[in-house]
Point group: none
Chain length 526, copies 2
C-alpha cells in the first residue's frame, strides 16, 4: 500500500498534541514517541516547529541522525512568511527549508478577521504570503501541505475569501489543503457540508483537522472523510489543547474496522493498545480507562446475567473483536488473550513456552495479580523476564542478599539538600556496608547499591541509571496512593527497563533498582 | 416550558452510569446526585432497578420521602415480565409498580439472538412479555418508556422483528421507544438511517441511548435527534460501562448552544460546570480536564502569539462563551507567554497590571527565567500568583521561616519501608521542632510541616495534599536530571496547584509543599 499516497494518516501529537495543558516533551521524549508512531504505521509525523522553538530545531537535527522510520515521513510545521518580506529572506522559512524534513505543513490564516487582528496585514498580502511561501518551499524540493487555520469559522464569516486562500495554496503547489476546526465548535453535518463545497469549488485535495470541543472530533473527522477528505490529522490519545484533538486511534479504527477502509499497513492496527499506553508512559499523562478502543475498560464487562450468553457468543456483547486493536475482553482474559500474549512475549525473549500449558497459566496468573497491585510489564520487559525466569527455573535470579537500607535527605539554611544512603548486603559470601551520596534519595541508594555490589561483580561499574519515571496510581487520596516507578539502566551497549511498586516511592524505586542490577548481572554472567 | 413533554432529557447516571468500572454509589450518594441533576433541570432521572437490587429499592423509598424535585420526574428501571408468568404475578413487576415512581422504563430484547440466548424464550413470547408488562403498568397509572436493548444490532440481524417489538410496545401504550446502541458500535450516519426508518415505519415516539465505543456517542445522539428522536438518554460526565454513555452535558450543550433547541429550563445550562464537578466529588472519579464544555482545560489557552488578539476579541479563539456552561476562559502562562498574556492572567487573578509596563516586564522576565530552569506555571496557578504578589508588593508572602529539615526512609528485613521527617521552623515568633511519619518521604515532610505550622495557624488542619506529580526533566542523565514536582492542595472547598524544581526530588517537593501552604494561608488570612 502506498502510505503517503491515496490516504494520509497524519499524526500531530508532537506539535499540536504537545499544546495540551501540563504536557511537556523533551527532545528524547519526542524521538521515542516518533518511533512508536512509526510502529503504528502512520504515514506522516509532524515533529514540531523548527526555527521557532530551539527544542524543535534540535528534534529535527537528531531525528535526521537517529530515527530510522519504516513507514512514516517527518513533517516540519511552520507559518507562512512574514508580511512584507520575501520568503527567501525570512529566517523562519529558511529553518523549515533546512530542517531535513521532506514535508512542510504550513499554517495559514483563512479567516479574514484573523488576518486583520492576528497577522495585522491585508487580505491581499495574506494570499501573497501563502503563494510565495509554498512556491519557495516547493522550489527547494519539499512537499507542502497547507493547514488552513480557523477555516470553518472563516468560511462562515467570509466564504469567498476562505476558499480563495485554499485555491491560492493549491495553485501554488500545496498537495493537501487541511481544513482546521481550530476552535473546535463544529458538528458533523456542518463539516460535511463545508468539505463537499470545498471539493466542488476548488477541486483541491482536502484534509481535516478537528478538535473535540463539542465532543465530536472523531465524528467530524469521519464526516469529512465521507464527504471526500483523504487526509486526516489527529493525535495519539487525543492529546491537545483544551479538550484535545481528534483521537487518531479512534479515527483509524473506525475507518478500518467499521467502514472497511484500510489506511494503515496491514496488521499494525492491532498494535494500537500497546502503543497508546507506551506513549502515555512517555507523556506521563495517565491513560483514560474509558478511552474508545484502547482504554483498559473499553472491553471490560461487569459479569452478570449474561455471562453464559457471552461464553456462547461473545460478539453479542461487544461491538468488535478487541484483538483488532490489541485490546482484550476482560471477562475472558484469563482463558484466552492473556495466555496467548504471554506465550508471544516469552518467545520474543527467547523462551519457548508453547509446550507447557501449566507454566503459561502460572505466569499469566502472576502477571495479572501483580498488575492488579499496580505493576506494569508493558514497558518493563526486564522485570517481566526476571519473573519468567523465576517461573521457568523455579527460583528468581539473585546475586546478593539485602540486609537493610536507609536514606536520609536533609538541608540546612542556604544549602542545597543532600541525600545519603546506607546499604547493608551480602554478595559472594562477603558482607558489605556502604554509604553513597546523591542528588536525591534514589540516586544515593543507587550509588550505595552499585558500590557494594561492584566489589563482588566489577561489571557493575559499567551500569548507569539513565531514566527514572514516577507515576502515582489511585489519585484522589494523597497519602494512600500507590506509586509505580520505572527505571531504565544501561551498560553502555543496550538498556533495559524495570518496574517497582509500593506505597512508599523510595521502596518502589528500590525494587526497580534491584531488578535493574539483577537483570544486568544475569545478562553479563551468561 | 413543558419539560416532560415536547423533548425529554433523560438521565441514567444512577443506573447505567453506575455500571462504570470502579464506580460505587451508596443510597445517600444517589440522593445527592439526584438533587444535582434536578438542579441542572433534566426532565427525568432514572434511579435504579427496584426489586432487583436492595439498594435501589431503598433509594426509591427514601426518594419518595426526601427528594423534593423541582424539574425532574423519577423513573424506575426494570425488565419485562418473566417468560410464562402473568405480569401481575411477577414480583419484579410488582416492585416497579410499587416503587412510587410515576415513570417506568422497561428494558426489552429486540434482537432475535438475544431473545434466544439470554432470555431463552421464543420470539412470540418476548412480544407478549412486552405487551403484557406495559399494559399492566399503564393500567396501574404509570407512564412507560421502552428501552429496546441491542436495538441497532438487532435491526441489522432481523429488521422486521426489531421493528415488531417497537410496534408492540407503542400499541400497548409505551410513550417512548428508546433505541439502545447497547454495544456502542454505531456511527452517526447509521443511527440516522435507522431512526428515520423507525419513525416512518412505526410512527412511534423515538428515544436514543448511546454508548461511546466508537468515540461517537454524542454525535450519534445528535444524529438521532436530527432524524426525529425527541428523547435523549445519557449520563453526567459520560459515566458508564466500558467507554461510557453519551455525556448528557455535551449533548444538551450542543442542542442548546449549537442547534438552538432549548431542552432545559432557561438559564440552567450555566450550572453545568459546577454540577458536573459536584457529581464527580460524589462519585470520587477524578474529573477529566479535557471534558468538552465543563473540563478545567476546556477553555484554557496557551496564549503565546495570539494573546494580543485574544485581548481584542476573545470570541475569535473560543467556539462559544464559556459562561454559557458556567466555565471560564483560562490563560496558561508558559514560556511562550508574552506581556499580553501575563497581563490577562493577572486580571484573571484580580490584579490590574495594565498601568504598569515595567511591572509586567519584570513578571514576564521572571516567568521566562524560571521556566528555563524547569518550572512550569501552566498548571501551577498558585505558584504564579505568589510570584505575582511578590513582584507587586515587593516581598513574597511568608508566614514561617524554615531553619532546616531532614527526612529518613529505611527498611529492615521483611518490613515495609517507613519514612520519618523532622522539620525545624519559626512561626509567629515561636520555634517548632516537629517530627512526622508517612508512607513516603514527601508525606512525612508534609505531615511534619503541617503539624508545626498548624500550631501557629489552626486553619492548616483543613489543608490536605490530594495530588502529587513528579516529572524528570532532561532525561538521559540519570544523576544530573532536574526534577519538577506539582502538588495539589485542598482546603475542602477549593484546590490549588504549586510547583517545585530541583536536582533533588525531595527538595523540589519541599518547595511545592511550602508554596502550597503559603498560598492556602494567604487565602485564608484575607
Amino acid at each position: 500500500m502506498d502510505l503517503q499516497g491515496s490516504f494520509h494518516v497524519y499524526d500531530t501529537t508532537l506539535r499540536d498534541g504537545a499544546q495540551q495543558e501540563g504536557l511537556n516533551l523533551s527532545v528524547a521524549d519526542k524521538l521515542t514517541i516518533a518511533r512508536q508512531l512509526d510502529g503504528l504505521g502512520v504515514g506522516y509525523i509532524e515533529g514540531g516547529w523548527p526555527g521557532a522553538n530551539p527544542k524543535d530545531t534540535e528534534f529535527f537535527r537528531r531525528a535526521a541522525q537517529e530515527l530510522d522510520l519504516r513507514h512514516a515521513r517527518l513533517a516540519a510545521f511552520g507559518a507562512t512568511r512574514r508580511a512584507g518580506v520575501a520568503a527567501a529572506d525570512d529566517p523562519l522559512i529558511a529553518a523549515l527549508r533546512d530542517s531535513g524534513a521532506s514535508v512542510v505543513t504550513l499554517v495559514a490564516k483563512s479567516h479574514e478577521r484573523h488576518v486583520e487582528l492576528a497577522l495585522r496585514t491585508t487580505l491581499e498580502e495574506n494570499l501573497a504570503m501563502v503563494r510565495d511561501t509554498i512556491t519557495h518551499l516547493r522550489d527547494s524540493g519539499q512537499t507542502v501541505f497547507l493547514d488552513a487555520e480557523h477555516f470553518f469559522d472563516g468560511y462562515r464569516s467570509n466564504r469567498a475569501y476562505a476558499l480563495e486562500v485554499l485555491r491560492t495554496a493549491a495553485e501554488a503547489g500545496a498537495e493537501v489543503v487541511a481544513l482546521c476546526d481550530t476552535n473546535g465548535g463544529m458538528l458533523p453535518d456542518w463539516v460535511s457540508d463545508v468539505v463537499h463545497d470545498v471539493i466542488e469549488t476548488t477541486g483541491a485535495r482536502v484534509g481535516i483537522h478537528c478538535h473535540n470541543d463539542t465532543g465530536c472530533a472523531v465524528a467530524n473527522t469521519l464526516a469529512a472523510v465521507d464527504a471526500g477528505a483523504t487526509h486526516v490529522q489527529g493525535t495519539i490519545n487525543g492529546y491537545g489543547e483544551r479538550t484535545g484533538n481528534a483521537d487518531l486511534v479512534s479515527v483509524v479504527a473506525n475507518l478500518e474496522l467499521k467502514l472497511d477502509r484500510q489506511v494503515l499497513p496491514a496488521g499494525l492496527l492491532s498494535e494500537a493498545t500497546r502503543i497508546a499506553h507506551a506513549v502515555a508512559e512517555v507523556t506521563n499523562v495517565p491513560p483514560a480507562s474509558r478511552q474508545p478502543y484502547v482504554g483498559t475498560s473499553a472491553f471490560a464487562h461487569k459479569a452478570g446475567l449474561h455471562a453464559s450468553a457471552i461464553k456462547v457468543d461473545p460478539n453479542l456483547y461487544q461491538h468488535m473483536d478487541p484483538i483488532g486493536v490489541g485490546n482484550d475482553m476482560r471477562l475472558l482474559v484469563s482463558d484466552m488473550a492473556g495466555r496467548a500474549s504471554i506465550e508471544l512475549k516469552g518467545r520474543e525473549l527467547g523462551f519457548d513456552l508453547s509446550g507447557d500449558r501449566e507454566l503459561v497459566t502460572r505466569v499469566t496468573d502472576r502477571v495479572k495479580e501483580l498488575e492488579q497491585r499496580g505493576y506494569t510489564f508493558e514497558a518493563a520487559d526486564a522485570s517481566f523476564e526476571l519473573l519468567l525466569v523465576e517461573e521457568v527455573e523455579g527460583r528468581r535470579p539473585s546475586y546478593f542478599d539485602i540486609e537493610s537500607w536507609r536514606v536520609i535527605t536533609e538541608t540546612s539554611p542556604a544549602a542545597e539538600a543532600v541525600s545519603e544512603a546506607t546499604v547493608k548486603l551480602r554478595a559472594e559470601g562477603v558482607r558489605y556496608v556502604v554509604t553513597g551520596e546523591g542528588n536525591g534519595p534514589v540516586n544515593a541508594l543507587d550509588a550505595a547499591l552499585r558500590t557494594a555490589i561492584g566489589q563482588a561483580f566489577p561489571e557493575v561499574a559499567k551500569f548507569e541509571l539513565i531514566d527514572y519515571k514516577v507515576r502515582i496510581l489511585d489519585q484522589g487520596h494523597g497519602t494512600d496512593a500507590i506509586t509505580r516507578v520505572l527505571i531504565e539502566t544501561t551498560d553502555g551497549e543496550s538498556s533495559w527497563v524495570t518496574v517497582g511498586v509500593g506505597h512508599n516511592v523510595i521502596e518502589a524505586s528500590w525494587g526497580a533498582l534491584v531488578d535493574g542490577l539483577t537483570f544486568g548481572l544475569r545478562r553479563h554472567q551468561r
